[in-house]
């Protein structure tokens, strides 16, 4: 079995080619740095099975960030390389190609985005390019699948070559210059409407108003879609389900089983948020409260990702993000973190230094609430008024800014400048957007349901053995005395380690005032990340930095909680 690795510059479409070759789904987007880790898949060629690996993009074989290090690692292991190249930008892409060839690897060249090259007036002589490089060259349009069949067919043609000797950087560019003059012709292109929009959205004067408009529209769309899905689909669904659950409750009769599956009946009725049974709260929270917002958020995110807007946003926020010890690219992990902190923290791999990655990961864990939690905040604080929801997010925003400023001062290390390619705007493809959203929904359900069930089970267990009382007593001085919350809120903070959405739900039966709810839900974001985020922080930062980050979070939660109590409760 051969190991075939997909390599190429960032944002040339490697992940799309990978999906086409293996049938496996991986996230692909229109911005450099989407893939930060490798994915493995299988492909059959004749009777033989091959392992295909999708590597992060890199401009050269000298890595400059963690994602590129992964790419290099994959390169070393490869038996054969499919070098995916952006046909609209052949010259620059060939640098990596030559480096790969100098290392005596077997290579097939996929000239991707062949359609776009044609539209932009770039013509490439395939025969001549094959002759100059001495490797098979196949034009492809990975998005539509065009050329993928040929690509597979020509993998067999690959043979070892001895022709290209290692050379230095300037010789490489000279060679590339020769090849380009020989194979490529570019017809001059007039500026189009797309170029005009592209420039308007990246220039400061027009870019900032546009960015604000885009973000507000996006937020409005997410809440609108989420609410609509709940009131017209998920809630009616659960109204139909209630008689079944009630029937089951009666059939089970009072006892441990009823407690476990249905939970506590409130005024003889099931309360989907407060009952805490596996078949009531355990399925209502993920499906009827969180899932609608997950669907809304990820479909909007997919449109943002595929349009190519995110690198422009990164440019606009660069100056501000430098104050937080990162550069503009830091907005992308933050954006992804709004869906789920785990992929957000992973995306920080595209930042160059340890300092930048540490700050990005810590800020996400401390002040970027994930969609599962947001949905619950909307659901629980919404009835009291939008003002309360605003208070939660305003506080988190302040925490983000202040922590960023502080961490930038505290942390040693470099914060290099931004160096980011801006992809052309592309129209997001409906099917691709839907597929990607579906993939993330499936991922959410797979991650969320087991932990939610575990959480519900644990809550029941902890109440039965009296652990909750005991723990509440221990933390009473902090929770009650300092934060001004009922001491039972301790359990919610404990469960928050498993699932933050469930934890928010647990606050409801405590009979708190709206202001207390604001404090509790805000603290639920700050104090500690959930178990998944914790694991990814451990993996990305190492144990020492993770402990540092955690200590920072606990300290911040303590201070912010105290201050909020003073300001919001006035006592």
């Amino acid at each position: 079995m051969k190991k075939i690795v997909l390599m190429g510059n960032p944002n040339v479409g490697k992940s799309v080619v990978f999906s086409r070759l293996t049938g496996a789904n991986v996230i692909a987007s229109n911005y450099p740095g989407t893939t930060v880790d490798f994915s493995k898949g299988k492909m059959c060629l004749g009777k033989e099975g091959h392992e295909i690996i999708d590597a992060p993009g890199t401009y050269s074989l000298e890595p400059s960030n963690k994602a590129e290090e992964v790419a290099l690692e994959m390169f070393e292991q490869a038996d054969l390389i499919i070098n995916v190249v952006d046909a609209t930008n052949l010259e620059r892409n060939l640098y990596l190609t030559l480096q790969i060839l100098e290392r005596k690897k077997q290579v097939v060249l996929a000239l991707n985005m062949w359609d776009e090259a044609r539209h932009t007036g770039v013509t490439i002589d395939l025969k001549k390019l094959e002759h100059d490089l001495q490797i098979p060259v196949v034009p492809t349009v990975a998005l539509s699948g065009e050329g993928i069949h040929d690509l597979i067919g020509r993998i067999d043609e690959v043979r070892s070559l001895e022709k290209i000797e290692p050379m230095n950087e300037s010789d490489r560019w000279i060679k590339i210059g020769k090849i380009i003059r020989n194979v490529q012709q570019v017809t001059h292109r007039h500026h189009t409407l797309r170029d005009w929009i592209s420039e308007a959205s990246i220039r400061p004067l027009t870019g900032f108003p546009l960015a604000l408009a885009m973000i507000f529209t996006a937020l409005w769309l997410v809440s609108f879609i989420g609410e609509t899905l709940i009131s017209y689909f998920f809630d009616p669904l659960f109204t139909l389900y209630t008689p079944i659950a009630m029937g089951l409750s009666t059939w089970l009769g009072p006892g441990i089983l009823q407690e476990l599956f249905i939970g506590k009946l409130i005024d003889g009725q099931i309360d989907y948020i407060q009952s805490m049974g596996l078949l009531t709260t355990g399925i209502y929270v993920p499906f009827a409260m969180v899932l609608p917002y997950i669907i809304a958020f990820y479909s909007i995110l997919a449109i943002f990702e595929d349009s190519g807007y995110l690198p422009r946003l990164a440019t606009l926020t660069d100056t501000i993000f430098h104050r937080f010890g990162m550069h503009g690219f830091g907005i992308i992990p933050v954006f992804l973190g709004l869906g789920c902190n785990v992929p957000g923290i992973l995306a920080a791999r595209s930042l160059e230094t340890k300092k930048q990655r540490f700050i990005a990961a810590t800020l996400i864990a401390i002040s970027v609430p994930c969609m599962a939690k947001n949905a619950m905040v909307f659901g629980i604080l919404g009835p009291y008024g939008v003002g309360y929801i605003f208070l939660v997010f305003a506080t988190l925003f302040i925490v983000f800014v202040v922590s960023g400023l502080i961490l930038n001062q505290l942390m040693k290390g470099d914060s290099p400048e931004i160096c980011l390619e801006i992809p052309p705007y592309r129209k997001p493809d409906t099917v691709t957007v839907l597929k990607k959203t579906l993939m993330r929904i499936r991922w959410f359900l797979k991650e969320a349901i087991p932990f939610l069930f575990l959480g519900v089970l644990l809550i029941n267990l902890l109440y039965t053995i009296g652990f909750v009382e005991w723990l509440g007593g221990i933390f009473a001085p902090v929770i009650q005395g300092w934060f001004g919350l009922p001491k039972e809120a301790t359990t919610a903070l404990l469960i928050g380690f498993l699932r933050k959405d469930l934890a928010v739900g647990m606050l409801l039966p405590l009979g708190m005032s709206p202001m207390q709810l604001v404090i509790a839900t805000t603290l639920l974001t700050i104090y500690f990340p959930c178990v998944g985020t914790f694991a990814v922080m451990f993996r990305e930062l190492g144990i020492r930095d993770m402990i540092k980050a955690t200590a920072f979070m606990a300290g911040t939660a303590f201070m912010v909680g105290g201050m909020m109590r003073l300001v919001l409760l006035g006592i």
């Binding site: 620059r92 440019t315 100056t319 980011l420």
Partner: protein, 95 residues
Amino acid sequence: MIFISTIARLLGIPKGCIMEQPITSLETGTTAVILRLEGGHWFQNKMRGIGIREQKTIRLVAKHPFNGPVVVEVDNREMTIGRRMAEHIITRIPK
């Protein structure tokens, strides 16, 4: 280097006469040719890797305030680079 264009303007020297200047002192929208990259080996490699090389035509698309990044276009491709890096890209406006 940054103030060359300002000084030149004060002295009344027309724009085309300035032999070389960093991309950051060009006016937004100006097209120029890259003469050389100043700075360490690592920086030069990085710039060439993303397509910013000697002899290439470069256009300044945007310059962000408060010493923010600049956006340049080379080979029909836009790129955002930090101000300090951009100051090391020396260009000349063709006559």
